[in-house]
Amino acid sequence: MRVLVVEDEPKTAAFLRQGLEENGFVVDVAGRGDDGLHMARTVSYDVVILDVMLPGLDGWGVVAAVRQENRQTPVLFLTAKDAVDDRVRGLELGADDYLVKPFAFSELLARVRSLLRRSPARQADIIKVADLEVDVLRHRASRAGVRLDLTPKEFALLSLLARRAGEVLSRTLISEQVWDINFDSDTNVVDVHVRRLRAKADDPFDRKLIHTVRGAGYVLEQRS
């Protein structure tokens, strides 16, 4: 997967490159809008990550030019302004998504991945991670053959973590997906839910699957 990052702030560009490369992407970085446009024209990228304020040519100009050439490369906007006008303008010009600075890298990664999942592969009915088995259709979960007694929300939380095993999920994303709560809560509400889930799904077992990533969120994965 090849990603073009057009960003003039060197530190932002550097951590984007490193983070994306470590997550398996091939990354090219351009520091100017016109350079970025040139690269987007000559190389075929899977995703373009575009800052709005750029020297040479701003992000809007880049996306407009790219779209005029009928290239359907997904574009993710990074913007420091979150005025509705900016978003609408970006989306109208053909951007596929946007993120407001400051953003969490895990959030960016999730968005890039969802842009790439244009036609999502059919979800497996039964998800298996180590000795955990989540039967999405029948709303059942078990570990090492032992049935877990979960509330509907606990099951929803577990299946979300299992479906995206290995991916760090932010508290915001979790509350959005499981509780349909769409604002950023400051408190430890999600932590309490995860703690309850752990008490049922992790604590009785030797091998722990749900891990806390400090400052970022939670991940379900098998760690040796």
Binding site: P102, A104, D184, D186
Partner: protein
């Protein structure tokens, strides 16, 4: 042309009205003087005519006697000489005072009357001003037609007197006009001096001395109201200015803490070589601080945007009860861990046009607050009721309540009823300010009541609305 100043208007009105009054008075006096001079002259002429009439009544045919009498009379008066002429019915001159013929011919007199009242002014042929009277005597000689008496009086002295009088009047009026303007201007200026004082004070006040006020002592009643209004405006300005200044200071303070943590943590970590775990710990701590900063910035931006009157929210028809249940489900675990029960009571179906995310955020903030301030064993109740026009959401807790002194301020930004409560729990004192902004974005209002038994917050939203 610029509009006249107030002083100029007052001066013009004052001077104008005073001058008109003076002119009227002087004109009236002049008219009275002229009129009484006329009256006096008429009386003298009439006296003379009566003398003739009496003579003729005694001796109807003694025209010589009449002439002697007339001449004698004429010569006896030095200053006010009255000429008389006696005509018969055919207009023939029977007797006349010498010199009268060349003064004014018989034909120049007005037609005779029968009373002795109506004298009139006439110019002699040589230009001498005359008062003339023409009378038909009733008692004429028996069997003959009645005599007519024409009398004229030289009144050049009176005319000169009046001319002199008029000359003085112009001088007096001219002087009066000047005095009126000068005095009027002085009065206007004195009257407007308090306005000048108010103006000077207003001009002097800027951000550095917003505390200064207009001194109401000695101001007239009308300006007292103005000064009072002005002072109240300054009170409000000063209050919002102070709030703004405090707000900036609060922001700086809230930013300082996480930045300080970041900096200190990194500096200490870089001080010597460490194990990867130690580095990981520092980085994770930094990430937490960054999250705190990002949330603070997001909240501030949200408040700033909400304050912009252009901001509009997209609304959907929401089942308020279902939304409360969602929020309740989300917070139930955290509340339960604290020993607080979270319940939802909704009477019937309550629907309203609301922005879902913002509504969740407002209710969520209130629930967080309520749970945080309710001791174990307490209950936090969410309610929803509807009227025809509005939907009301209530959040009630059984906590210790908020002291009355803090109640009016709890919706202010960065206001914390208990200043010792640090922001380490993510609480920076913006939660309730955001609740208020959200409700106001929907065109609703928020109300808080608190006592020993707990705190009760109600959010009232219009159920349907066109525009905020």
């Amino acid at each position: 042309m610029p509009p006249w100043s107030l002083a100029a208007r007052l001066t013009a009105w004052y001077a104008g009205s005073a001058f008109v009054m003076i002119v009227s008075a002087v004109g009236f006096l002049y008219w009275v003087l002229g009129h009484s001079l006329d009256r006096e002259d008429d009386n003298q002429i009439a006296d003379q005519v009566r003398v003739l009439r009496d003579l003729l009544a005694d001796r109807p045919d003694d025209l010589v006697g009449v002439r002697q009498e007339a001449e004698q009379e004429f010569q006896s008066r030095q200053h006010t000489q009255v000429y008389v002429r006696l005509l018969d019915a055919n207009g023939r001159v029977l007797v006349e005072t010498p010199g009268m013929a060349k003064l004014l011919g018989p034909d120049s007199f007005p037609p005779p009357t029968t009373d002795f009242q109506s004298g009139s002014d006439q110019r002699a042929d040589d230009g001498t001003p005359l008062r003339v009277m023409s009378v038909r005597l009733s008692g004429g000689p028996p069997g003959r037609s009645p005599y007519t008496v024409q009398a004229a009086m030289d009144r050049h002295q009176e005319v000169e007197l009046l001319a002199e009088y008029r000359k003085h009047l112009w001088v007096v009026l001219g002087a009066a006009l000047v005095v009126c303007v000068v005095v009027g201007y002085q009065i206007a200026r004195r009257g407007l001096r308090p306005v000048q004082i108010v103006t000077d004070t207003a001009r002097r006040i800027d951000t550095a001395n917003l505390g200064e006020r207009i001194d109401p002592d000695g101001l007239p009643a009308e300006l007292l109201v103005l000064a009072d209004t002005f002072n109240h405006m300054l009170d409000r300005l000063e209050a919002s200015f102070t709030r703004l200044a405090r707000f900036s200071a609060d922001i700086a303070h809230e930013l300082r803490t996480p930045v300080n943590n970041l900096r200190g943590g990194v500096e200490v970590a870089l001080g010597k070589a460490r194990t990867p775990d130690e580095y990981r710990d520092v980085l994770a701590s930094n990430l937490e601080e960054c999250g705190r900063l990002a949330r603070l910035i997001e909240s501030l931006l949200f408040l700033a945007r909400a304050e912009n009157p252009q901001t509009q929210v997209v609304k959907d028809r929401l089942d308020v009860g279902a939304e409360l249940a969602t929020v309740c489900e989300f917070y139930e675990a955290a509340a339960g861990e604290k020993g607080v029960t979270l319940t939802v009571t909704v009477a019937g179906g309550v629907h309203a046009d609301l922005n879902r995310t913002l509504f969740q955020r407002a209710v969520g903030n209130l629930v967080e607050n309520a749970v945080a301030h309710t001791p174990a064993g307490g209950v936090v109740t969410l309610t929803a009721t509807a009227t025809d026009t509005s939907a009301t959401v209530g959040v009630t807790d059984t906590g210790g309540g908020i002291p009355a002194a803090h109640l009016p301020h709890v919706f202010d930004r960065f206001y914390r009823a208990d200043p010792s409560r640090s922001s380490s729990g993510g609480n920076v004192g913006l939660g309730l300010a955001i609740v208020k902004s959200i409700v106001e974005l929907h065109g609703g209002n928020v109300h808080i009541a608190s006592g020993g038994g707990g705190t009760h917050v109600t959010l009232t939203f219009p159920r349907k609305m066109t525009k905020p």
